[in-house]
């Protein structure tokens, strides 16, 4: 139970529950419900169960909700179903949070801990006995896609980086890479900086911590709030009139709307940062379409699946990556048409959810294998790990293709 006057209690009590007319549309789209009877689905777990959640938490299977947000996106009545589920989960976990959920929620910690001995850590994480132990003790499935830590974090690369000669004429931007972009998906962050500089931007990279997304999706709101506030303070240290360009597909959603809508962080600074934050593809597409950039790309003959992650869809900007990549001659982008890859942040890491997450992503994995088994594109880190794990394909941020087309790799 939350303090009755808290944001969480308020969200739950808010009229949103009352908007539901039971049309069942959300149930037809929920990717988890489609693959397992264990999850009762968004209508039941969301607005219906919420009417009965007075007192102690009794419906523990609500934890099967992956928080992908698809239900909120499709509800014609504006019920904040996924948000209700998140808050109800936070209420439920308040007193009995599995230590596993605390551990995998701390992306930076995991990255930092693994870095100094990255090859070792990676090997250890992949080694069967260690993973069996991890499953037993921590509840992390032995086969779950684990991030691969790079030897050198992005911030170390950046410290030595010299701006390309092309940087400058298009103006200055702040680059937001998120903590996965610092420790795990380092190549993406480097590619993004090089693309931005090639297209004429001066790039600033202020020191930046974790947005707290994984903590939030695991119901650890208090810490998550502190983390997102700290990130806002970090980003504010850079000049405040600049656009913040992001490759961290889900973390940008945290800044744009989730911190406020789910955790009730009402903060002018957060709002200002959220407003200034732009997805890198959306930002570049807009500039190119306005004719403001010298967009000299070479032909790339490639057909590739692009999967729009749930978290990106929830930001309500369409699929800018698809339009951006289609500007490259020779590139055929096939939209995955799949709702969700299954991983949903840290959901698919958990041993009781691993198989579900795999089943959720199966249509997507099949599509990748059919279209191009070697390469696929997706904007968020954990989704890329999941697709890599289950298809064996190289899965990259869309910026990877642009980097190639610009002759940078």
């Amino acid at each position: 139970m939350f303090e009755p006057t808290s944001h969480e209690a308020n969200l739950l009590a808010r009229a949103s529950v009352d908007q539901c007319v039971k049309c069942t549309i959300c149930e037809t789209q929920c990717p988890v419900m489609a693959v397992t009877p264990l999850f009762a689905g968004p209508k039941f777990v969301g607005p219906q169960a919420e009417r009965f959640r007075h007192g102690e938490s009794v419906d523990h299977t609500l934890d099967y909700c992956s928080s992908c947000g698809t239900c909120t996106l499709v509800c014609p009545q504006g019920v904040k179903i996924a948000e209700l589920n998140s808050v109800a989960r936070a209420a439920m976990k308040r007193d009995h949070m599995p230590p596993r959920d605390r551990l995998i929620s701390r992306t930076t910690l995991m990255g930092q801990a693994m870095r100094p001995i990255a090859p070792l850590a990676n090997a250890a994480l992949r080694a069967a006995p260690v993973r069996v132990l991890a499953e037993k003790i921590a509840g992390i499935h032995r086969d779950a896609a684990m991030p691969v830590s790079s030897g050198q974090p992005f911030h170390a690369w950046w410290a030595k980086h010299q701006p390309a000669p092309t940087a400058g004429p298009a103006g200055t931007v702040i680059f937001f890479h998120g903590c996965a972009g610092d420790y795990f998906e380092v190549a993406t962050s480097i590619q993004a900086v090089e693309v931005l500089e090639r297209l004429g931007f001066n790039v600033l990279v202020p020191k930046q911590g974790c947005c707290g997304m994984a903590l939030q999706s695991n119901g650890l709101y208090d810490t998550a709030r502190a983390w997102v506030r700290r990130l806002v303070a970090d980003l504010e240290k850079a000049p405040q009139d600049l656009v913040i360009v992001s490759t961290a597909g889900s973390c940008q959603g945290m800044l744009k709307h989730e911190a406020r809508e789910i955790m009730g962080v009402e903060d002018e600074s957060l709002q200002a940062i959220g407003t200034r934050t732009r997805d890198i593809c959306e930002f570049l597409l807009e500039k190119i379409e306005a004719g403001q950039l010298n967009f000299g790309v070479k032909r790339l003959d490639v057909t590739v699946t692009y999967h729009a992650p749930c978290q990106l869809k929830g930001q309500g900007m369409g699929q800018p990556a698809v339009e951006l990549l289609r500007l490259i001659p020779g590139v055929t982008v096939v939209e995955s048409g799949a709702t969700c890859c299954g991983i949903a942040g840290t959901y698919g890491f958990k041993k009781e959810k691993y198989e579900i997450a795999k089943a959720v992503g199966q249509p997507l994995f099949d599509k990748v294998k059919e279209v191009n088994p070697k390469l696929a594109l997706c904007d968020t880190e954990t989704c890329r790990w999941q697709i890599r794990q289950h298809t064996g394909a190289q899965v990259e941020h869309p910026i990877y293709l642009l980097h190639k087309a610009l002759g940078l790799s």
Binding site: P4, K22, P37, H54, Q77
Partner: protein, 524 residues
Amino acid sequence: MRQLSADVVVIGGGTTGVGVVRDVAMRGYKAILLDRADLAQGTSGRFHGLLHSGGRYVVTDPLSGTECAEENAILGHIQAGAIERTGGLFFTLPGDPDPDWGDKFLAGAATAKVPVEEIEPSRALKLEPRMNPTAERVFRVEDGSVDGWQLAWSAAASAKQYGAQILTYTKATEITTAGGRVTGVRATDAKTGEDVTIDCGFVLNCAGPWAGGVAAMAGCEPVAVVPGRGIMIAADRFTNVVLNLCVKPADGDIIVPCHGVSIIGTTDVKADDPDHLPIPADEVQKMLDAGEKLAPGFRQQRLLHVWTGARPLIKDDRVAASDTRHMSRGMAVVDHSTRDGLKGLLTIGGGKLTTYRLMAEHIVDAMEDQTGDHHPCRTAEEPCPGHEPGRYFALNHRLKEREADRLSDQIICECELMSRTMFTDLLKEQPNATLDDLRRQLRLGMGPCQGGFCSSRAAGLAFEEGAIDIERATGLLRLFLTNRWYGLWPVLNGQQVAQAALDDWILQGLLDIGHLPAQTKEVI
């Protein structure tokens, strides 16, 4: 023609009658209860849902206050499962008509021995964030909410354990007498038309607002029962504590959270006929305004249903018949032996649902005064079947049950989390029930969609189970939807309109219920 016999016949299966038949049976009498319809579908199913702490009466009627406080505790012992211990708040507002009411309230509570604690408004707002934030003084009391149907059915189950017979859908038509004594009751089975005669030495008239007519069946001078009509409006639940204005009892001064709804009420207007109680639009508006005062924003809540009931107040010559509010709430037992020279008939009226057990004790004591037998009343000590002292109802109970069985059982009514087995089990016990009868015990169709989804499922299921034929299925479905609609349209606005439109598309557009074959006879 059915011929039965008993020591005592109880007429009326509201909470009063059920409490009476339980008491009579526990004292060792052979008892039969008759209701012309289902149990607790009269006033006892159309009330406000408040388990009084007594707070409401501490200034104007302290004896009632004391009785409520005592009975409140007793019901927690014998029928805890029908009660939610929400707690209650009485609060004063700036500009209240009597600025000293708060002090009178505290003093009255002390006299009436009603537990009251004055608390800081800020603390009260933590208990119930939707309380009017301008409250000046706040008093915390032991108000709760109570399910009249569960109360009645479990008391009936207890009575049956003591050998009582409960005959629903059996309407008393005549009380036979000979030589200044009651000799029996004639009745008609409403479902089959069969005549029923019961030989008995005593009749206890517990017909609530209909008690005047029942007394007349014995040829007595009419007992003037003044039905005091009141309306109540249920919003989807948004409060968890009973909210009361701390003023002299008036219209629309309480919001009760009960099951999945928060109920505002009520009004009090003299009615002529308890079978035809209107829901005037101006009273609806008055309640919505009152709701705004108790919990600002009330008008924006999703309103689900409105209903009306009539208080069974026995006419008291000291006040004008048109002003029923200020009559004593105290119960009145009319002894027809002194009044009409007829032995073996007592009529009871007044009271409250909270004090139903005490009313029963009084009338059965009065009966024994007349017969000269004396047995102790034990209804306060023994919990009713299915209830354990202190094991109160909580809103999340059904959620917990569905969490346990949802993989093996279907959910038929989604809004109220009613499973298929709950429905089919009760249907087996009561194969002649209407969907509304089943609703009262299972809450079928009482949530936000108001039967839009579950009603056709329920009718289909009853048919599939072989309990009813196709014509009855159609008839029951129509009747149920008509009754739901009757309580919905006077408050239909805002969010509920979208629901009504969707329900209409499903029921008319998809299922074409309007064009199902017409009924050849009335569905009961």
